[in-house]
Symmetry: C2
């Protein structure tokens, strides 16, 4: 077991009706005026907007609105939020939405107390030393942003998509009401499910020291995601499955599955990022195309972990069968499992491989390990769904 | 899944040599002078005392010593610590030891900022509103105190053993170096193992709503405890097993296994507390005597959970076999599994049952549910090891 640190100070308030307490929570936290960050109009049509506003009004918490956060939040809109936060002298950020909204909220929280170039923190030029407290009401399970310090922002000018992470950007309080996810169409569930599974299995398969306790926590999350996803697709109004899925998604990226691993990289996310940049595909779809191919390509490099996975998650002693079963499961819930499924021809593979290598792989420091040739090998395995089968 | 809150702000620094950073950590936290709380002389003979002192000296952190904490920490000694903390105007508490030392350190942290009767917080007369920051270096895995806000203190005058719990008493930073547990004799491992298992299975078996995700985390911990305990007993210097056991013990009581359960009581701890008060037995031994009997007595009241446990932990579809297997496992590692094993005659059962009912059961609000008659039924099942077999 490797040395590690674990520190996650976010307070989670989970369950039915909990979002209606946001005004009281902010007041108890001593917050007087927030920048109220959200995305498109959906929170208005569902009535969530009114409930949040009513709660803040009831406790005398003032707010300034900053709406229009995009699915992949961009720097220009973030800087607009920073400007508003400063102009109105808010003392907190309230983000209501999915991962994108939460991420932009965190970035604004940093920018609001800084007079330099915000992008410096993303490129690593400067280190985050403080931020306004940020609070969240989550409406979409998958991201994990509600219980960690990370935020991903795209700089449209430089075409960079980079992240920050700091103890100062952990939400102080995150409200997770699974009822709010009932309005998410069941057709979106496969993408969320694949994303959550990817969040935990990437480290699990790429570790060189892999403690049993952390392995078991990963397997617990994967099994719960599989079980609850099947139920949600069958019955989208199944509260209990929505709830367990939501909490599993939070656990998947709050650090609790990581202790003691040596190694651990996000290679599938790396390739999926480029697919997402080049094609109009949901993030989860990019991952479900890449993961089975990468697993097949990588399986001999960490066979004991693939054997564990196959045995513990799918009850088979055949480590190759575990990979195939996961792929079949992706397909069974409606996620694409090949480039062909997504309408991407083999002639695009060179372009994708070069994009992966020259963008994400470089930024993440994985370009030495993952050469263009290797990325192409993986992409060829993802070409048709019958290659890994 | 029931509504829940989760908030655990303790920072964990885990691994080899980590305790040597205590001076630097305290300095970074802005702490200038600590009350250095520890137990008997063992930390001096192992050299740990010197390493802690050297580290504090190197970073200019002053300290006042408060040693002699007893295995079941008592109020009088705690108040002596409070007096020292006030007299020397310390601005933090550093506890170095096992659960007892950590618990007393937390209670002192509360008393140091309070001018009333400290016992009020234990009886529930007053609510904890603040405490000095407390820091810990753990030397014994089992307690969980290193990552929660609880502390148990015995008031010798009133013969009460009560607890406090508050967000203010969570350690700010806890240092967990598994190397420090290498000096714990392997003969103590069974008691630690039983205690950790008890910490997670009590809620698991007494829940009325039992979410799959939390069930799986519990099973992950139980399986890891079983696996690592067998290895530690075989090879006490097995660092990796010591490490995984230590982290599992922390996870067992840091709240992460609880989300979404409805119900959940500590009935085995309740009975074990009385056994511990009446006989000179380790806490873990009291638990290993009670648990199989209680499980057998209770099994029909929550059969699906017993079926889960038997299947997931021991791979048997027979829910009674799971209980028997756990009992056999307790015996195999050297833990007593009956009153007879501990030399307690059947003629004592009345006295024990009355003690349980009139003390812990009353304090914990379980005296209505657990009548003297019911407690006697359970104790009779624990009389001889062949009753549940």
């Amino acid at each position: 077991m490797e040395n590690f640190q674990f520190h996650n100070p976010t307070k989670i308030i989970f369950g039915k009706k909990t979002h209606r307490n946001i005004g009281q929570i902010l007041k108890e936290e001593g917050v007087k005026k927030v920048l109220f960050v959200y995305g498109q109009s959906s929170i208005k049509t569902t009535g969530l907007y009114d409930e949040i506003v009513d709660s803040m009004n009831a406790y005398g918490v003032e707010f300034v609105e900053h709406s229009g956060v995009k699915p992949n939040p961009v720097l220009s809109h973030t800087l607009e939020g920073v400007r508003k936060a400063k102009e109105h002298k808010v003392d907190g950020i309230l983000s209501v939405g999915g991962g994108s909204v939460l991420d932009e909220g965190k970035a604004i929280a940093v920018g609001a107390l800084d007079d330099g170039d915000l992008w410096d923190f993303f490129t690593g030029k400067r280190e985050i030393k403080r931020a306004l407290p940020n609070y969240t009401v989550l409406t979409l399970a998958a991201t994990g942003s509600e219980m960690n310090g990370y935020a991903v922002i795209t700089n449209e000018q430089t075409a960079e998509k980079l992240s920050i992470g700091s103890i100062y950007t952990f939400p102080r309080v995150s409200i997770l009401n699974p009822e709010l996810t009932l309005s998410v169409p069941a057709s979106y569930q496969p993408y969320s499910a694949v994303d959550v599974i990817a969040h935990v299995i990437e480290w699990y398969f790429t570790c060189t020291v892999c403690p049993g306790i952390s392995n078991r926590l990963v397997e617990s999350i994967v099994k719960t995601v599989i079980e609850t996803t099947e139920k949600i697709i069958k019955n989208p109004s199944d509260y209990d499955s929505r709830a367990q899925f939501m909490w599993s998604a939070t656990l998947a990226l709050n650090g609790i599955t990581r202790p003691g691993y040596r190694g651990g990289i996000y290679v599938n996310h790396m390739i999926a990022h480029s697919l997402g940049a080049l094609y109009d595909l949901p993030h989860g779809a990019c991952l479900s195309i890449v993961i089975p191919a990468w697993m097949w390509w990588y399986k001999e490099k960490n066979r004991p972990q693939f054997e564990r996975f196959s045995r513990e998650v799918f009850g088979t002693s055949d480590y190759q069968e575990g990979i195939k079963t996961l792929k079949r499961w992706f397909r069974s819930i409606g996620a694409p499992v090949s480039l062909r499924d997504a309408g991407i021809p083999s002639s695009d593979i060179d372009r994708i491989a070069n994009h992966v290598h020259s963008t994400t792989a470089k930024v993440w420091g994985l370009d030495r390990e993952y050469t263009v040739e290797k990325i192409k090998e993986i992409l060829y395995l993802s070409l048709r769904s019958n290659i890994v089968e």
